[in-house]
């Protein structure tokens, strides 16, 4: 590769910085526009139902399976240590603490960004490049209220609800694995959870899920609505959307964890 002159390097750096600033600015404006439509609620009822169904019902199985396995993995990981120190009474706490506060929201957030977010970007992007968004606007329909607000509500609400479902199934998976692998009875597992896990642990994780939901909804909608350049452009947008959502999830997690600690 040819060495770049300092001025070229600087201009490339500048261009990249401008592109990121443009995306971040676009997302902030989009979030504002969506929130403005929420008070008082202005949205299409039919579209909202359709999206709630699509996002929620169709994501539930995959969330249940991943959560169940996550709970099991937490127990397997801590199993050796638990057995070594004869701390069977702490197994439930260990698995639940990590799952509720951290692993659950992150795992489900990443699942969501890969499944629901990518789908959202692809759908909106395709609508954009095939003029469907313009067709809506030509009919005096605001794409934000008609398309984006229902998706926002569906993604944020379902991310939140499915994290609760995921937390529960992870605990079931953990309890089951604990019994099979370490002989820890489910009642001992449960009592350890009830005794040591506070509501604060639960709410901490749910708050994260809520913000991840907002992030996924806004990022995926932004990349969808700014798609250009045919099928290739849709592919590029989906890619950007998934990467940006994942990065944002970790960044938000870092800040929330450090602030709430």
């Amino acid at each position: 590769m040819q060495a770049l002159s300092p001025s070229k390097l600087l201009s490339r750096f500048g261009a990249a910085f401008m592109a990121i600033a443009l995306d971040v600015g676009g997302m902030a404006v989009l979030l504002y526009q969506i929130l403005r439509c929420l008070v008082p609620p202005r949205l299409d009822g039919m579209e909202t139902w359709r999206n709630l169904y699509k996002v929620g019902v169709k994501s539930a199985p995959i969330v249940v399976v991943t959560a169940m396995l996550t709970g099991a993995i937490m127990v397997i990981q801590s199993g050796a240590l638990v057995a070594q120190f004869d701390a069977f009474g702490l197994l439930g706490w260990g698995a639940a603490f990590a799952t509720l506060r951290e692993v659950g929201p992150i795992m489900i957030g990443l699942m969501f960004s890969g499944r629901v977010g990518a789908n959202n970007t692809a759908e909106l992007g395709t609508m954009k490049v095939t003029d469907q968004i313009d067709a809506l606007r030509a009919l005096a329909i605001d794409p934000i209220t008609y398309l984006l607000v229902p998706r926002f509500i569906a993604i944020v609400l379902m991310m939140f609800l499915l994290t609760i479902v995921g937390d529960l199934t992870a605990l079931v998976g953990g309890a089951y694995t604990g019994q099979v692998l370490l002989g820890v009875s489910p009642s001992l597992f449960a009592s350890s959870v009830i005794e040591y896990i506070t509501l604060e642990d639960l709410f901490n994780g749910l708050f994260k899920a809520f913000t991840f939901g907002i992030a996924i909804a806004v990022v995926s909608s932004h990349y969808g609505m700014t798609t250009s350049g045919g099928a290739v452009g849709v592919g590029r947008s989906v890619n950007n959307s998934v990467v940006a959502s994942a990065v944002l999830i970790f960044v938000l997690d870092y800040f929330i964890t450090s602030i709430l600690h």
Partner: protein
């Protein structure tokens, strides 16, 4: 009436709409012709307020649409019907839902009335028994006819048809042109028709505008265009290759 004045639009440094001035009087049908990439579709989107020009003014029935927000545009848009060149059918809706959508959004009609109107239009465009199909189950020509039906169902006083007969066989294409003519003859509709089918368009437009490279190079009636001595105009009208 549509009045376009000094409209410019750039893509990067390239000027894709280059100082266009155009007046379309109330109740007339204008044929917009020109080679591929001349800027016909883009000019139409600018007229419909879907794309904002970099400078210039677009007046629709006396309302300036350049620079106003989507909310203020609502009253102007309710007067406009648009047939998009690449269909722009909502792919999550059936044919029936697509066509009925503008009426449903307007409100004030029962589902029954909407269904009847949709069925009537589907017959007119020769697409019976396609109500329950989705756009991805249709051929290009079928999609074109569905978009046509969606554009005209609410009887808007202003209509933009972007290539309404692309991909249609000669018989169907003749039917669509006849429907355009019928609408024009009824009066009251101001419209722009973009098409490469000059033979089909000759008799259904009050005047013609020829575009090339983002500029209007000729505008006038059929007689004027046929009498033009400018080589490009004559060649384009008669579809001769230049050598």
């Amino acid at each position: 009436m549509i009045r376009i004045a000094e409209v410019y639009k750039y893509r990067g440094h390239e000027c894709v709409i280059n100082g266009v001035n155009l007046v379309i009087p109330q109740g007339t049908q204008v044929g917009l012709i020109g080679p591929g990439g001349a800027g016909k579709s883009l000019l139409m989107k600018i007229c419909a307020g879907l794309v904002r020009p970099d400078s210039g003014s677009v007046l629709i029935d006396g309302t300036e649409v350049v620079g106003i927000g989507d909310v203020e545009m609502t009253s102007v848009r309710s007067k406009i019907g648009m047939l998009f060149q690449n269909y722009a059918l909502f792919d999550f809706m059936t044919v029936e839902e697509n066509i009925g959508f503008p009426l449903r959004q307007l409100g004030g009609r029962t589902e029954e009335e909407i269904r009847d109107e949709v069925n009537r239009l589907l017959l007119a465009v020769d697409l019976p028994n396609t109500q329950k199909l989705f756009p991805n189950e249709l051929s290009g020509g079928m999609k074109k006819r569905v978009t046509f039906a969606r554009a005209v169902i609410a009887n808007p006083p202003i209509l933009f048809y972007d290539d309404p007969t692309a991909g249609l066989d000669p018989v169907t294409s003749g039917k669509i042109f006849a429907l355009l003519e019928e609408r024009r003859a009824r009066g009251g509709t101001t419209s722009i028709v973009v098409s490469h089918d000059i033979l089909g368009m000759r008799d259904i437009c009050d005047s013609f505008v020829l575009m090339d490279h983002g500029r209007i190079v000729f505008s006038g009636t059929r007689e004027q265009i046929e009498a033009s001595t400018r080589p490009f105009v004559g060649q384009f009208w008669r579809g001769e290759a230049d050598d």
